[in-house]
C-alpha cells in the first residue's frame, strides 16, 4: 500500500492554450465538431475518445463564452 498523495496545484492555461487542447481533442476524436455535438445531444458517443474529446470541447465553449 502506498501513501496518499497530496493534491498538486491546479493547472491553469490561457485561452490560447485551451483552444489548442480543444483543437487537438477534436482531431484525436476522429469526428467533426458537429458530429461530436450530435453525439453529445443524446449522450451517445461512438467511442471513448469521442466522449473525452467532447468533455474538453464543451468546457472550452463554456469558458470562451465567459471570456468573450
Amino acid at each position: 500500500m502506498t501513501a496518499v498523495h497530496a493534491t498538486d496545484p491546479t493547472t491553469r492555461m490561457d485561452l490560447h492554450e485551451r483552444r489548442s487542447v480543444r483543437d487537438m481533442a477534436i482531431q484525436s476524436s476522429g469526428f467533426t465538431i458537429d458530429e461530436l455535438r450530435q453525439q453529445a445531444r443524446f449522450n451517445e458517443f461512438e467511442t471513448l475518445q469521442a466522449k473525452l474529446s467532447w468533455m474538453v470541447v464543451s468546457a472550452f465553449e463554456r469558458s470562451s463564452g465567459e471570456e468573450s
Binding site: T2, T7, T11, M13, E44, M55, V56, S63, E67
Partner: protein
C-alpha cells in the same frame, strides 16, 4: 454568512478523496490532478490535456494488465455553493493507452429527451447479441454490442467509482492492498457519496423532504 468555498478548493478536496480511495484500495501512486477551465474543473491524469486517453495500472500484481481511466468534469451547482459532477468517465482496458478497451461507464447530467444520464458500453460480442443486432439493423451503419449504451441510472444513483473498484476485486481481477480494510474503505467512501446525493436531493425538493421527515418521525 460564511463565505462559500471556491470551486478550486472543492475540486482539490474532491480529487484528494479520489486519489486516496484509489491508492488505499487497488492502485499505487495514482495522482489525478485538477485543471481550471474557467468555471469548469477537470480531474484527470494529464491536467494539460484532459482528453488524453491514458489509464493507470490497477492492482499491484505486475502480471495483470489492467488499466483504469478516470476523468471528471466539475463545476459549482446553480446555488454557487456546492460541487457538482457535470460529467465523468470510468474506463477499463488492457493497455495504458486504453486501446484494448473492455468497457466504460459514461455519465453526463441532465440529458434531454429521456436519454439516460449514465450508461455502460461493453466492448464485446456474443452470438445472441449479434443475432439481435442483425435482425434489427435499419441503417447502413453496422451495429455492435460496443456501440450500445446500456442505461445504468440517473444523476443520484449512477454507478460510482466505489462500485467499479468492488467489481474488480470481487470478480478477482485484482487483489486489494488490504483485504480487511478494503470493504470498510469502500463502504465509507460510498456512504459519503450517498450522503452528498441525499443532501443534494433534499436541496432540490425541500417540500418532499419535509414531508418525509414528518412521516418518518
Amino acid at each position: 454568512m460564511a463565505k462559500s468555498p471556491s470551486l478550486d478548493a472543492l475540486s482539490r478536496a474532491f480529487v484528494a478523496e479520489i486519489n486516496s480511495l484509489l491508492n488505499t484500495t487497488v492502485c499505487d501512486n495514482v495522482v489525478l490532478q485538477t485543471s481550471d477551465w474557467r468555471g469548469t474543473y477537470f480531474v484527470s491524469l494529464n491536467p494539460r490535456n484532459p482528453a488524453e486517453r491514458r489509464g493507470f495500472k490497477v492492482g499491484s500484481d505486475s502480471k495483470t494488465n489492467l488499466y483504469l481511466l478516470v476523468t471528471f468534469q466539475l463545476s459549482l451547482d446553480d446555488s454557487d455553493q456546492y460541487l457538482m459532477v457535470r460529467s465523468s468517465v470510468f474506463a477499463l482496458a488492457r493497455d495504458p493507452e486504453m486501446t484494448d478497451e473492455l468497457f466504460h461507464i459514461d455519465y453526463e447530467r441532465d440529458k434531454q429527451d429521456g436519454y439516460s444520464d449514465a450508461h455502460l458500453q461493453v466492448i464485446g460480442r456474443s452470438d445472441a447479441w449479434d443475432a439481435l443486432l442483425t435482425e434489427t439493423k435499419t441503417g447502413k451503419k453496422p451495429k455492435s454490442l460496443g456501440k450500445l449504451h446500456l442505461p445504468t441510472g440517473g444523476t443520484r444513483y449512477r454507478p460510482t467509482l466505489e462500485d467499479l473498484l468492488e467489481f474488480l476485486v470481487y470478480e478477482e481481477f485484482c487483489a486489494p492492498h488490504d483485504d480487511e480494510k478494503f470493504e470498510s474503505i469502500v463502504a465509507e467512501s460510498r456512504a459519503e457519496f450517498a450522503r452528498k446525493q441525499l443532501r443534494a436531493a433534499i436541496r432540490r425538493d425541500l417540500e418532499t423532504a419535509k414531508q418525509a421527515v414528518k412521516d418518518f418521525s
